[in-house]
Symmetry: C2
Subunit: 258 residues, 2 copies
Amino acid sequence: MPDPRLFLDVPLAAGAVLVLDQGQSRYLTTVLRLGRGGRVRVFNAADGEWAGEISDADRRGATIALRDQLRPPALGPDLDLLFAPVKRHATDLIVEKATELGVRRLKPVVTARTISETVRLERFNAIAREAAEQTERLDLPEICPPALLTKALDGWDANRPLLYADEAGDDAAAPWGGQAGRAPPLLDAAQTTRAPALALLIGPEGGFDPAERALLRSLPFVTPVSLGPRILRAETAVIAALAVIQSVWGDWRSPSSS
Amino acid sequence: MPDPRLFLDVPLAAGAVLVLDQGQSRYLTTVLRLGRGGRVRVFNAADGEWAGEISDADRRGATIALRDQLRPPALGPDLDLLFAPVKRHATDLIVEKATELGVRRLKPVVTARTISETVRLERFNAIAREAAEQTERLDLPEICPPALLTKALDGWDANRPLLYADEAGDDAAAPWGGQAGRAPPLLDAAQTTRAPALALLIGPEGGFDPAERALLRSLPFVTPVSLGPRILRAETAVIAALAVIQSVWGDWRSPSSS
């Protein structure tokens, strides 16, 4: 088993002694049953990943003494995910899986058909932190406060192409469940993108409404894409699309193929 | 909203009157509050998808009278998924998402590090059926009884290449969390496959043990693949890998690109 891994948003350096909060202390000492001398890894985006060991542990908490840097700081691809919050459990899954799949920023957007439960930013951050610890990335994704879709598109940086998948079919005339109209497959669209920054927009279960779709189609930085002949749930669409994007545009590519 | 969609494993034909079981009757009349004349769609792999309407509905059940065929029978790509059962909720997710992503056969395999809960075939079938109804596919995936990995590989049809992703790193020397050794990216491996049948193998959270890895590497039909620089949970790996495979090998491709 690899040494447990903790995100700590404090400066990391050789010899530093870090005081853990209650939750992290309990995780190491009670869940993992580690004591003094137990090996751990600590990471954050600014300082990379460090090896350390538990230097003190009692009922009040634990401290970690850092030794050597294991990995220098590094960010993954500059990939944003705009997603319409869906049901509680599915939204949690979107946050967890987007973190595993290397998204840099998570942007909840409110669309006409969003069945909006409260966006629980604190909970999202906790899920993202745990997923980042588990998935071996060095940074935490930034989780933005929710915005109306129209606001998010207003003032968009034109250097960041936006790929959007509309699970309810790509125009009003497209038969539900048929081939998704005229949008090109995501693979083709992502493959031709040479921009260093990219964004993906996945709509709510009910799809975008006609006005939203017309707006999206009118914007020069937006490309509609198809995710195959079957209807996908929102969380499936997020995970599937991110995997394809990382494969052809992001950091799943072989080092030789850029 | 599209008409509700039910899988029924009986012959479908114009004029046929189908008797629904209690669960399906209740779904239409109580959950969706449909009555006599309510429109529904019915499908199966042998007969495709049909339009029908509720011809009778009372406390004991409902019947559906079929009108016209909406879609002729059609199967998706000949894609098998071999997966090691993981925790209950994650395994349910694998079955649901593999159905959405068009897998034809789901084969639970028991590996050295499988933390084996009981494989609940009846539950898996119910999940797959609901996912198929929702995702607009015409067939249900076949869910095979669990087999030892070694048995599953014994007598393998050499015409079906097997791509395997080992989330714990692709050999004992590969650093946890580093680039996954020498395995090519899944995209590259799937892109060069011209076989009409394919299989994907995703291991348990702890990865394959050295003997399993040596066996897999020794088999001429097996190609190890990498799923990027981060460690993915088993269910994430399944969904992500299936999306990439459907994009370059399967039915997410544009009609022009085969």
